[in-house]
Amino acid sequence: MDPTSAKMIGAGLAAVALAGVGVGIGNVFSALVSAIARNPASRDQVFGIGMLGFALTEAVAFYALIISLLLLFVL
């Protein structure tokens, strides 16, 4: 297999990581909504942590994107 095709296949495979990220973000917001539903007064405290959790999980998606872009355009 020539290197260019291998890189393209690798770049596509890197996108598989996004499945885990989707599940993760769903988990974060599910926990956030549950927490606020159980105790509406905790909203201000919990919201900040929820946003932090969302951003950290989304970052994993971006790591996969960077691997993909590295394979396609740099290496």
Binding site: L52, F54, A55, L56, E58, A59, F62, Y63, I66, F73
Partner: protein, 244 residues
């Protein structure tokens, strides 16, 4: 790497004023221009509005005071009241610099300096080294007990300590990569859909509508990424000061 018309062309660094010292290129670039504008704007906002501060603040003074209180609350909550105060200027500078940088990059024909890994890596490497030095000064040799979480069985140490060390050493990488990739991906998608808008002719309103929504999301992400960078700095400082 990218031509003017490709979606990645918006990230090219252009020299506005060419300066060289020997073989060192210290030209004033579009990136440096945006950084200068950001610093001037932040200074004007904070110093200008509080110079003749009124007890009941007007709009701009409110913005300055709210941002100050927001970051101060974040530092106090995450690092601790007495310990955190000394780190407030650092966290505030980082937060405002990244926030304004991200937001100003959304203006058409502007430049997002946080979309370059060298800028974000410089910031995160500085934070990482600063946090490590603070921890070493405060705890001395006992700093290395940080890598063995308290309460874990000693038999797990050969497995746990290398994992902890590796995860500590990847902190500057993850911190910089998160901000860089967010900004790069956001602006690239906007450019790609803008290309579709032109290419589809009469049906170009569909990618245009998507772009409008995406730009709104990018504003939220700009603020969120600044918040995440700042709060992770606070958490790393808290780790350094309290060793868990």
């Amino acid at each position: 790497m990218a031509s003017e018309t490709s979606p990645l062309g918006q990230f090219t660094i252009e020299r506005l004023v060419s300066l060289h010292i020997g073989s060192l290129d210290i030209s004033y670039t579009n990136s440096a221009l945006l950084m200068t504008i950001v610093v001037v704007l932040i200074t004007a906002l904070l110093v200008g509005t509080t110079r003749h501060a009124s007890l009941v603040p007007g709009r701009l003074q409110s913005i300055a005071e709210l941002s100050y209180e927001f970051v101060l609350g974040m530092v106090r909550e995450n690092v601790g009241d007495a310990d955190g105060r000394q780190f407030f200027p650092l966290v505030f500078s980082i937060f405002m610099f990244i926030l304004f940088g991200n937001l100003l990059g959304l203006i058409p024909y502007s430049f997002t300096f946080t979309s370059h890994i060298v800028v974000t890596f410089a910031l995160s490497l500085f934070v990482f080294l600063f946090v490590t030095v603070v921890a070493l000064i405060r705890h001395g040799i006992r700093f290395f007990t940080f890598f063995f979480p308290p309460g874990a069985p000693i038999i797990m140490a050969p497995l746990l300590v290398p994992i902890e060390i590796i995860s500590y050493l990847t902190r500057p990488v993850s911190l910089s990569l998160r901000l860089f990739a967010n900004m790069l991906a956001g602006h690239t998608i906007i450019a790609v859909f803008a290309g579709f808008t032109v290419a589809l002719g009469i049906f170009g309103f569909l990618p245009l509508a998507f772009n409008v929504a995406l730009l709104g999301l990018e504003v939220v992400i700009a603020a969120l990424q600044a918040y995440v960078f700042a709060i992770l700095t606070c958490l790393y400082l808290s780790d350094a000061v309290h060793l868990h």
